[in-house]
Symmetry: C2
Subunit: 366 residues, 2 copies
């Protein structure tokens, strides 16, 4: 990330270039809490776009003009499928332009809907293709499995009109009565499109983006990613380095002794058991890790962050990459405080996902 | 149907009014070959719209200006669901205007995609609401279960851009790479919308409509419907009256002794057995009757028409209304000859639907 300060105006210009991508994708996959897509694929796609079109300017929410036209873009679908069916990059910008045309607007900025290995790097592809800057922010501060689970929903921003495109050239535009309906209809299309699709939605003005997005997510991703790399290079402890950047704590360490996973209704759902000196920790996931249980006691739940890292390398492990025998450390870290509001819990708390537990905060039992 | 000939110009104006609806809906359900929706519901909806907005002008394809903007409209979904979830009529016109806005056109005429109890009367609702005439034609000359199964597909007319709307206010616009993809994506939305949705698609010019639609379907529906009513009033044989208008023949008479039906992947699929003096006739259906088999011999298949009428009253019986004990007569009648082309058979022949038989024409065994 290169920051240039123009002396006359004091405005700083930051940009994301090829040498930021490894750290960005790794840090994004950490915040992705198991979901948000594979960081390796995300990095490759962004690298290809930056090589072709040049680095992408990164704009802080504070520097957005009120009347900016911000169009977020993302991949929707089951991460288990996305690792096998690599998205066609030429369609990424298309999802954005299809929405822009439908709305009759000219986008000025691209944004991320969630933090994740794919969904924090993919918007760079659209931005590079369209020659637009990316906002240093995202709609969740983490990843969540459903479309309506973004802070903009809490601020009354409509998910639609939205565009949805597949790699073959099929495009849909949806206008729905609420954000939950956008999820159901877009999910039906995503499944028919082969369990992965490109979407652009939550179009918003600059002042709205400033208010409702999570500030600084992309910079944080780069910091987390770099801290892990530096600790590794210094033969230090990459897991502790990531934990410090997150402001979280280690919950459990051990070996993955069981993973049950199925790709159903467009999601990767399942359970993983991690056995270690401190007993067994069971993780329940639906694209993302949502609940951590030890000996029948719920230790942490969504909306707080449950993160699985490789104990040796500090690399984040997505739910679709979890394998028997993996030596992992599970971290707990705080989510954006707005998720703990009544509306936030209704949208993303454990009961929404069908778990019969109240939300348990990461720090309550620290 | 009132026809007024203006003496000075020689132009004849025909319109569909309240007293045409019973005959129209009945005749349309006959051509619907078991599908195309319930004629009673279709009649009620059209009657309500005509009472509110006045009769609907009926324009022959030959009288369409070349540059007319024809927008067909239909219900998509499982007839089993449509009889329970009556469509909200105020949304019918909405599907048309959503497509017109997306295309940036002003529709001049409404058309029917298929012939059927609902899908021949429903377009009248849109036409009445929007104050537009209806074309005396349809896209099939019968009913078929899938979106791409229309004669316009054989002429290279794209199914999309298309609109799809539910009764709650959710609207989708699809643009696809081929008409088969329109079917898959619209079907996924239809299922999520509760197995019934309003669609407008196959937008076409007047010259295209003249070439690729089936001419005179609505008038034929009214003639069939009236012939049945008149035969009944004269204590004659309504089934023979319908057969004469269709140019078909009676295939079998008897009692329904078995019906197996399930609503799956958005369709009403199943089998019905009709036992009579001439043995057992088995009908295979998927919204529409597609194959008629007697003692292991295929007697008639799609694309020709297999029609089930109440033996006493001549009323058409839709696949979702078939019940054990019903005394019925099965008719076979010719489809539009274009369906028997190579492309037509690929699109709607029995093998497409998974039946391992070549097409058997209605008249080959007469």
């Amino acid at each position: 990330m290169t920051t240039t300060v123009t002396p006359t105006t004091g405005t700083s210009t930051t940009q994301i270039d090829l040498d930021d991508l490894e750290a960005l994708a790794r840090g994004a996959a950490v915040l992705g809490t198991g979901g948000g897509g594979d960081p390796y694929i995300g990095r490759l796609l962004a690298a290809q776009a930056i090589r072709e079109h040049g680095p992408v300017a990164l704009v802080r929410p504070a520097d957005l003009p009120d009347d900016a036209c911000v169009l977020p873009v993302a991949m929707m679908g089951a991460p288990t499928v996305m690792v096998e069916k690599t998205p066609a990059t030429e369609r990424v910008g298309y999802a954005v332009t299809a929405l822009a045309e439908h709305l009759g607007v000219t986008p000025t900025h691209i944004a991320c809907i969630e933090a994740g290995g794919l969904n924090s790097t993919f918007p760079l592809v659209a931005a590079a293709q369209l020659g637009l800057p990316v906002v240093d922010a995202d709609g969740m501060g983490r990843a969540f499995p459903e479309l309506q689970m973004v802070l903009p929903t809490l601020y009354g921003i409509a998910a639609t009109p939205m565009s949805i495109a597949d790699e073959k050239g099929n495009v849909g535009l949806l206008t729905t009565i609420d954000n939950r309906s956008s999820e159901s209809l877009a999910r039906a299309l995503t499944i028919t499109m082969g369990c992965s699709a490109l979407i652009s939605n939550y179009a918003m003005r600059g002042d709205q983006a400033r208010e409702c997005l999570v500030d600084g997510t992309l910079s944080l991703c780069v910091r987390i990613g770099r801290a892990v790399a530096e600790a590794r290079a210094a033969h230090g402890d990459p897991v502790s380095a990531a934990t410090r950047e997150l402001g979280g704590r280690a919950l459990h360490s051990g070996k993955v002794t069981d993973v049950a996973r199925r790709t159903t209704t467009g999601f990767a759902r399942g359970t993983a058991v991690i056995s270690g000196p401190a007993g067994e920790l069971t993780l329940e996931f639906q694209n993302e890790h949502l609940v951590a249980v030890r000996d029948g006691t719920v230790e942490v739940t969504t909306p707080d962050l449950i993160i699985v890292l490789d104990t040796d390398t500090g690399e984040p492990i997505t739910t679709e990459a979890l394998r028997f025998g993996h030596r992992v450390t599970v971290l707990a870290a705080p989510c954006d405080e707005r998720w703990h509001s009544e509306g936030g819990i209704a949208l993303t708390g454990p009961r929404y996902f069908g778990y019969s537990t109240d939300p348990v905060r990461w720090d309550e039992r620290a």
